[in-house]
Structures are given as C-alpha cells and as structure tokens.
C-alpha cells in the first residue's frame, strides 16, 4: 500500500491522527455498548446508535489516512447503522468499505432514499467491478429519477455538485468498456480538484484543522467512494494505478486523496467485509 503523505499533503500530524482515530473508535464502541444496554427503549437505543455512526464515520475517515484496514471496518459498521435508520449516506460508506465487491441492492436503496450522488456511484459500481456486463445507460433506464437531478445539487460536507458524480460515473463506464489507450480522465481530475478545493479552504484555519476540529473530515467518504471506484476501474482495465495514469504527486492533496482511496481498495480486496450481517 502507498503511504499517504499526511504531513505534506494534508498538513496534519500523524500521531495526532492516530490518537483521535483510535479514541474516537473506542468512543463509538462505548456508545454501542450503551445502545445495547438501552435496548428495551428502542427510541433511546436508536438515538445512541446514530451518535455511534457519526463517531464511526469520523474514526473511519481518520483511520483511512494511516490504516486502511481499520478504516474499512469503521465504514462498514457505520454503513450498517446508517442503513438501519434509513440514511442513504450509508451507500457512500458501503462503497468505501468494500469498493471491490459491489452490493447490487445499494443502487435501488440509495436512489429510493433520495441520495442521487450515491445512487449514480452505486449504479456504476457493479460495472467497474465487472459483476454485470451492461453499460451505465442501460442500468439507468430503470432509474429515471437520476436523469432529472439538477446538475448543481451539492452533496455532503464537500458540497460536490451532482454533475461531478455523474460525469465521473460516465467516465468510469467509458473506461470499463474502452479498448483505446488510457486517456486524460478529465472527469476524474475535475472530481479530485473539486474535492481538494474545499479541503484546502478548510486548511486555511490552521487552529481547527491541525487540531482535527475542522467541521470537514480530512478524507470525506463521498470523495473516497468516487475515488476508490476510479482506482478499481484503472486496475481492472489497464492493470495500472490511477495515480500513475494521472501522474499525481502523492505530496499534493489530490495525490494523497487518491492514495487513500487506493489503500481502501487494497484493504477491502484483502479482507471481504460483510456489511449487512
């Protein structure tokens, strides 16, 4: 796995990330124990589980920079809780947890629950993992809602517009079926730039960023979900890393984000993660 250049690219201190990731994971475990103890009061237990999911997502993002195996486990657990309470954000987490093995139900679920950006990624997911042999347009014939989403509708803390997710999905679909030489990956580069821009802006507030108290996670799941699928496609199609194809410097934020996604893909390939239990 490539080392993520946490200091150079993210401007963060690895020991501080390790401390916060591990303590936050432990806090999530504490909350899950409290939820189990409150099981007789289902409303209370559900509320505590939602708090645990937030902690697991934060821990997963932080772990993704330094230990992808732990990150995929956190994302998987958080995805399960998000599903259980009807939050479609779980679809992003599920892709981060297991990018190399698509769950066919994720597409219907995320679209039905109204999260178009996750829905379009979930639609292209089984195509790039080669679990289905159809084009994206065919897949989307059954989900007309995805064709009506405003291009500018923004998602998540990174506020990436839907069109970036859509362009990325179509680019991955094209690459999956392409027999041409690798091309510039324009949509991938635009997606990376858009994700990195918001993080760069958050970094300007050094006090909160360096103490890991920024409202922005260093590696937001919606960005990682898209980038793990990019990496999956590049490897399946050209047996090459997307970072090499894009000639990205790992010391830059886009390079480090892609390296983080690479590691999640490697981790999930090594150990399959059963999300739905």
């Amino acid at each position: 796995m490539p080392a993520v250049e946490v200091e150079a690219a993210f401007g963060l201190d690895p020991p501080r990330i390790l401390a916060k990731a591990s303590a936050t994971e432990d806090y999530a475990r504490t909350l899950l124990v409290r939820a189990a103890e409150a099981e007789e009061d289902e409303t209370t237990a559900a509320n505590i589980r939602v708090r645990a999911a937030s902690a697991l997502t934060t821990a997963g993002s932080l772990w993704s920079l330094i230990d992808a195996n732990r990150a995929t486990a956190m994302f998987a657990e958080s995805a399960t809780i998000n599903y259980s309470v009807g939050s479609p954000y779980g679809a992003f987490l599920q892709i981060c947890a297991r990018p190399s093995e698509a769950d066919p139900s994720t597409q219907n679920w995320s679209v039905g629950a109204g999260l178009a950006s996750a829905g379009i990624l979930a639609s292209v997911w089984p195509i790039v993992t080669r679990q289905i042999d159809v084009r994206l347009d065919q897949v989307l014939e059954d989900v007309p809602l995805l064709r009506q989403v405003p291009a500018a509708r923004a998602t998540g803390r990174l506020r990436i517009p839907f069109s970036y997710f859509s362009n990325l999905a179509y680019e991955l679909d094209h690459l999956r079926w392409s027999t041409d030489a690798p091309r510039a990956l324009d949509a991938t580069q635009a997606f990376l730039r858009r994700g990195a821009e918001t993080i760069e802006a958050a970094r300007e507030d050094r006090f909160h960023w360096q103490s890991l108290r920024s409202p922005m996670l260093p590696a937001e799941p919606e960005a990682l979900a898209g980038l793990t699928l990019v990496e999956q496609t590049a490897r399946e199609t050209w047996n090459e890393s997307a970072a090499v194809m894009l000639d990205l410097n790992p010391g830059t934020l886009p390079g480090a984000l892609l390296a983080t996604a690479q590691n999640l893909l490697d981790a999930s390939s090594e150990a399959g993660t059963d999300l739905r239990g």
Binding site: P15, R51, G114
Partner: protein
Amino acid sequence: MVVQHFLKGITGIPDELAEEILRSRGIPSRWFQRKPIYPPEVIAQLTDAALLRHLNDYVSFGPETPFISTTAGCTVRDAEGRANNIATAEYVATDFATDGFLQNGWVFSGYVFTLGRKAVAHRPFAEEVRELNLYTSFLPFQPEGELVAKIHIPATQLEKAWPVTARPDPARPGAMRWPKKGGVAYNTDSYVPPEDIVNLRDVL
C-alpha cells in the same frame, strides 16, 4: 428563558485548581483572568463583532476574549445526504479537555441561561450559536455545539466535574483509548440547582 445544561473541557489543569473552579472560583473568560474588570468595559466588550472574532478567529482573539466556549452537542443536518451527524457534548468536551485525547484534563458540567434569541450585550445570558434558527449566518464551527457564556460562569452554576485521563492503548503504540472518566466531584459548596430558581411556584 431556558436553563441549558452544558459541558466544558479544560486541559492540563491540576486537580486542586479544578476543585477550586468547581466550588468557588467558577470559570472566568480569559479576559477576566488577566485583570479586574469594570462595568463600562464589559459593555464595550460584549459586541457582535467580538463574538464573531471569538468564534472565527480564536488564535488571535482567544487570549483576550470576554467569552467562554461551552458545548451542549450539536446535530448537523446534511439535507441532500438525508443524514444527521451528531457530535455529542461528551465527545466535544472530552476532546477539548484532553487536547485531542493526548493529555489529561477536566470536564465541567453546569448550566447557563439562554433567552431563545440573540442577546450579545446581556452578560447573564449565554449565546446559542449552535442554534441555526438564531444564528442564521454560516458559522463553520457550529458542529462544536457551542453555547457562548460571557465574562464568568459562577460556581453557583457548576454542578459537577470529573477528571479525564488520556489512556494509551497497550496493544497499539501511539493509539489511544477513550479517556478514562475519573470519580465525579460534586459542588456541594455553592451549586444552586436550577429547580430552585426557575419560575415554578410552590403553594404557600
């Protein structure tokens, strides 16, 4: 008026000082810590501009701020993601108390009075900057769930406090467990329970 419970984490203070804060000293703003203050100065300090600097420019304004950050936790709505992310007061206060889970500190639990509207110039009332329907301008750190007290939180409003101890994970070098919560110290000296002062009248 609402009586709002809060938590506040303070890092690196000795146990004796924590006990003194809890029982008699209260939690002063950093401005009040530095010097005695006089009423006319308070009026000049409690302004919207100063509050915004406290919230958004703490590195430079922190040493002289008349405000005191506390947390009651926060729900952050991701409308498109149809998800609510929740930062609990326990998590935020413990994070601050331990400087990112790396040091020891104390968490104080008490209450402040809020009005359900902005009242920056009114010293007795805390500002609910976490409340989007009151603070409608975008505040990047709204997820910290901040309630901003002013000048000084008296010990009469501090119910209890507990030490939190950073816990290295013996199985993983550099990793930390959730900090150990020590025995809770109750302010039996000066705490006034809110039930004693809210506008609930008993029969004669």
